[in-house]
Assembly symmetry: C2
Homo-oligomer: 326 residues x 2
């Protein structure tokens, strides 16, 4: 009876995105038993964010029988550092933009359980490797297209952390050098993320609408309110301008992937996040630009896949996998 | 006596460069017992190149007591594939430019010993890890600045080969996109190699001389005859134009390294090859551009080192290290 009471069958996984924070309580087979979410929002201090998270978590923790049933927590977060359990200089998080936040420790103190943390895209890559389309692969790159552009790089079957835990920031390779580059949340200009994130796509839409008089369904909206989802909806209705926005975005992603191939020669690029719901609209231009751009020796070798798991699940499952290991 | 006769204390290491092919016969402690070299030259067929190599090798093989003393051979070669023992589509080798050359097998058949092969820059990286400035490092990138620009990437203490054995072609990331990019030997335009190899530096010199009337020691030469060595000599004499050529080259290398940091976050970039003889002339602009360009989280973390081994030795020793493992 006592033994039974001591079993801790669950871990908490947190997919901490620039917009949403999604929690899952996961069992050892990767089944999500309970889930909740809050807006990552505009908290000024990390402590306030953690307090809001813990409040939301209490409800689902009770659903599975209380905190005594929870072994640990795993977090996937932008600019998350696996080695230190910190988030450092995360451009899209108001409370971690300008410094080092010991997020694993804050959650551990608040919940009284061990907490591990990694980059959000690394968590997604682990999720894909354990439960998704990357099962059995040893060399692949997950590219997350959300509020930002993130990446999780697997080489020789291992996540690439680099010497300081921050490897895999492929959203911040420079695609447009010099004064013409768009400003990026990271404080520099011309980053892949400034063009190919959801916000980058919306910005491309505004630029294209302003530059021409061509008709488009997107003109029915206030330009400032256009999101990448609106572009996707317009494109799926056959809107030519919206399709061109995806072609522009996909071309840049494909060219970036050609450079990534020169680095780690993965067998697959796996795309993930809200923007991949556009399907072929984004994937076809990526593949076309990749094959046109990549070195001869890499042509025709890499697969371009869309995450087989629902976006949030893969990241939550990946984060939970980190949790099992603490 | 028979046992004694069966001991094979040496391996042959071959550093196969775009210009020179350097051979060393190496013992288990990494001591080079005999060495020779031939021009990699303009052989039409790989078989002719191998025949010329074997002829040169006979002399030093006899010096160490004959082929019975040689356990194996290791080759570091551009576009070398560790998995297959082949060279594939190597833009700087006339006899391996347009196809797949089974070089390990050709040497093995000619010499009657096992032969292993890897990318020339990977061989240099192994040389640095075992005998050079990267001793004890688990995450670093070797960048070779020679006829071409090559790279050997070590992550988690392992060489990064990728799924097909061709990872680490960092000379062929695109630094100038679109129609303004210089043509590269790989058939594309705008590659790092087209600017920062020895031939790229010579081309920069010709462009800068043609564009202005500024005085320079380099004007005493026929523009077509200028090499990166001439630029280095002029710069060391205080020639302002020559210094600017190195600043331009170093800036591009530093910006490229900033992108590489976003990929694998190495603790060191190690530069290697003829061009690093320019010392601070090239290293200072690299470091300056890197620190100005790199993401905040990487600033001030990476070391910029020059190979501690004489260039040819590190590559020969690295190639020989591959030989011990076959």
């Amino acid at each position: 009876m006592n033994d039974q009471a001591n079993i801790k069958p669950y871990v908490i996984g947190l997919d901490l995105g620039g917009t949403n924070s999604v929690f899952g309580i996961v069992d050892a087979r990767g089944e999500i038993k309970a889930t909740t979410a809050i807006k990552t929002g505009s908290y000024e201090k990390a402590e306030d964010y953690v307090a809001a998270c813990v409040e939301a978590l209490q409800v689902i923790i009770e659903q599975v029988g209380g905190i005594s049933k929870i072994k640990a927590m795993g977090i996937g977060a932008p600019n998350g550092n696996y080695y230190n359990g910190t988030i450092e200089f995360a451009p899209n998080l108001s409370w971690a933009k300008n410094g080092v936040v010991p997020l694993a420790k804050l959650f551990s103190d608040a919940l009284g359980i061990p907490v591990a943390l990694t980059n959000d895209a690394n968590a997604a890559a682990i999720g894909e490797m354990v439960y998704g389309v990357a099962r059995g692969m040893k060399n692949f790159i997950v590219i997350t297209l959300g509020t930002g552009v993130g990446s999780g790089i697997v080489v020789n079957g291992q996540l690439l952390y680099g010497h300081d835990g921050f490897a895999g920031e492929l959203g911040h390779v420079i695609m447009v050098r010099g004064k013409d580059g768009r400003s990026c949340g990271c404080g520099r200009t011309g980053c892949l993320e400034a063009y190919c994130s959801a916000t980058g796509v919306a910005r491309t839409a505004r630029e294209m609408l302003a530059k021409t008089d061509r008709p488009s369904l997107l003109r029915e909206m206030n330009p400032e309110d256009i999101t990448s989802l609106d572009v996707s909806i317009a494109a799926s209705k056959g809107d030519e301008l919206a399709k061109e926005i995806y072609e522009f975005t996909g071309k840049m992603l494909g060219e970036a992937c050609a450079d990534f191939a020169a680095f780690s020669s993965p067998e697959a690029f796996i795309f993930f996040g809200g923007m991949v719901k556009a399907g072929d609209l984004i994937m076809n231009p990526i593949k076309k630009a990749y094959e046109e751009s990549v070195m001869n020796i890499f042509k025709g070798k890499a697969q371009f896949l869309i995450s087989g798991l629902d976006g949030a699940s893969a990241a939550v499952l990946g984060a939970s996998a980190i949790g099992w290991e603490v």
